[in-house]
Symmetry: D3
Subunit: 140 residues, 6 copies
């Protein structure tokens, strides 16, 4: 079993603000991430799939196929987007990078069937990153 990790990049903006909190609580909890105009990041997305290399091709997955799927399901949706406006992905959830990471994992796990999606890792900045492997997932 080999693990292949492919890296993608997209830029988006968000505002951390919860409808379940008062204005004051929002400011206290989220600090400058609650600024009214929002702010943004260059997200780095790592998608890890696993499988055995095909004996004929020596490859775990057709990368062009993976790129096409991630492009259509993730990058077209989130690149150059204002995340708070994406009701389908976030509903009344705050579009933190935690929630974005989980949303991307479920989109890929549910829709990409060639090989299992084992892990999604999402860098928000060079200082912060998040990993999700599903509820049954292993510790990193």
């Amino acid at each position: 079993m080999i693990y292949l990790t492919r890296r993608y990049r997209f830029s988006a903006s968000h505002r951390l603000h919860s409808p379940r909190l008062s204005e004051e609580e929002n400011q206290r909890v989220f600090g400058k991430c609650n600024n009214p105009g929002g702010h943004g990041h260059n997200y780095v997305l790592e998608v890890t799939v696993n499988g055995k290399p095909d004996p004929k091709t020596g490859m775990v997955v057709d990368l062009a196929q993976l790129d096409r799927f991630v492009g259509e399901e993730v990058l077209e949706r989130f690149d150059h987007a204002y995340l708070n406006a994406d009701a389908e992905s976030f509903g009344d959830k705050v579009p933190t990078t935690e929630n974005l990471c989980i949303d991307i994992f479920h989109r890929l796990r549910a829709g990409f069937v060639a090989v299992p999606v084992a892990r999604v890792r999402l860098e928000e900045t060079s200082l912060n990153s998040f990993e999700y492997r599903g509820e049954e997932g292993r510790t990193p």
Copy 2:
């Protein structure tokens, strides 16, 4: 003469949209950077100053002093901000990274007097960066 470069980071959002262009022209010129909700970046800012090392201290500049100035004049203004809302910096100019780089250069050049600010370099993404050295500046 030695050149010291100090690196800073901030996250902000912007929307590329010019009041001097029609809606259609804006979309054609700026593409997805014109999306209504805006998008954002992790900007990397490099500030270069030059001078001779002080014979007593061996240093070109007091870094704590430089950090304080950049923090107050640049990071407090632009970190976690929506750049289009900053009328003082951009007025009717589009807040492209070109214009942001020039604005930061002038703020630093005008206000930091301990040593000359020779260059400002601003990375918008890992693929794009911009340098400005003033009108009298040298080629990089």
Copy 3:
């Protein structure tokens, strides 16, 4: 369960020298790392915590709280320090990055209670890094 990794940096110096070894053995075992004046590194520290995003805030942990704790318990202690002089952390142990990594893990695991500290990763140079997850820890 989501894993959040936060990155910190500090600079310190150490000399690899064991009181349990002769001078010759020290030189043979540690080579230039045994040079009398010591040497130093820019350490990169990654702290991984895990939890479920809070339904209200969408966050696993208050990053300001984590930063404050790591700042007080780790960075103030080790940044710009000569590690061999830290008897509390090392006693008669050699301040290798292995031992530093384990020491930092125990400081964080014992004292930070908001969410579990799952992993500490410490880069000594761009070529060497160390990970520790406690004795009960999983393989990386």
Copy 4:
């Protein structure tokens, strides 16, 4: 138990072409990676070993010993080499980075006895990487 990861680099070339596929299938499956003249990469190799720090030295492994072994068994073999010409490593297998990663793991696991080799990670480009931990290996 602590995990030490050491990073190495080598440059090599390969052509993705399977003797079990027709010319047309090779072109369809491998695309430009099937170009007749081959192409190449700067591979980044990460070798992870695990163990307890020696109470006397504080070290998990003698890095000079690890470097010597990896140098002789991996770098001398693959650095500045055309991978397809290495019949011992690849036989009729395509020298994909999947297969190269598995081959390197087995060379190290079989021959380096000081401490267990837990993992090999191989970066093909800044966008692609592969991990292998043996058949009994854990998920990453």
Copy 5:
């Protein structure tokens, strides 16, 4: 005047071998870079153009236009190619990264007319890079 630098990546292979040298001289001069099967690299290409931001758009150049030109004139030619086979670019010249850098500069300088191409920088590995600004070019 502002300088915009855009980064591209491509993978290629080459063999350092001069028809003007004997076999022995080739081996002595180029060492393992003269290995018969060749080897390869992940090249990082930085293209710097300069200009004044357009007062309407705030941009120095239309990046889509630059990407299209570099894609067609440089990436299609050199990505996943065996450089020695490119007689038009190298003729009887050795395809060192020096010569590749100069060739790319002239292709861009001659053909891209929207704004001047000021500089080409080409990384061969993380340890080696090359810059060219034309014969009239300034020191870096």
Copy 6:
């Protein structure tokens, strides 16, 4: 004219302390960099040389020759060293990275004769770097 930049790494320690200043002034000027035990860094050294590619070999300089010179004159001297103890390089000067950068430039400029050394760039941390091109040198 092409500019070749080669990157080297070394680890060293220093204490910023000037014999020309009182204890109190030292503490005020240098802050935690004045801590008695010193501290250290992973320095990244970039050496830039310039020349025309040799028509026969396509190379500006024999890299093995440059590596040997930098290894003997710079790395053997400063790697795993306590810089303050190097009286020849620093005398009564404080071993700041400014002064280290200038010292390295002069060692290389004076002793390496195959091609001119145009520039030395020295990174102290990922946030700080220094460039020197000699007194007659150009702005970066």
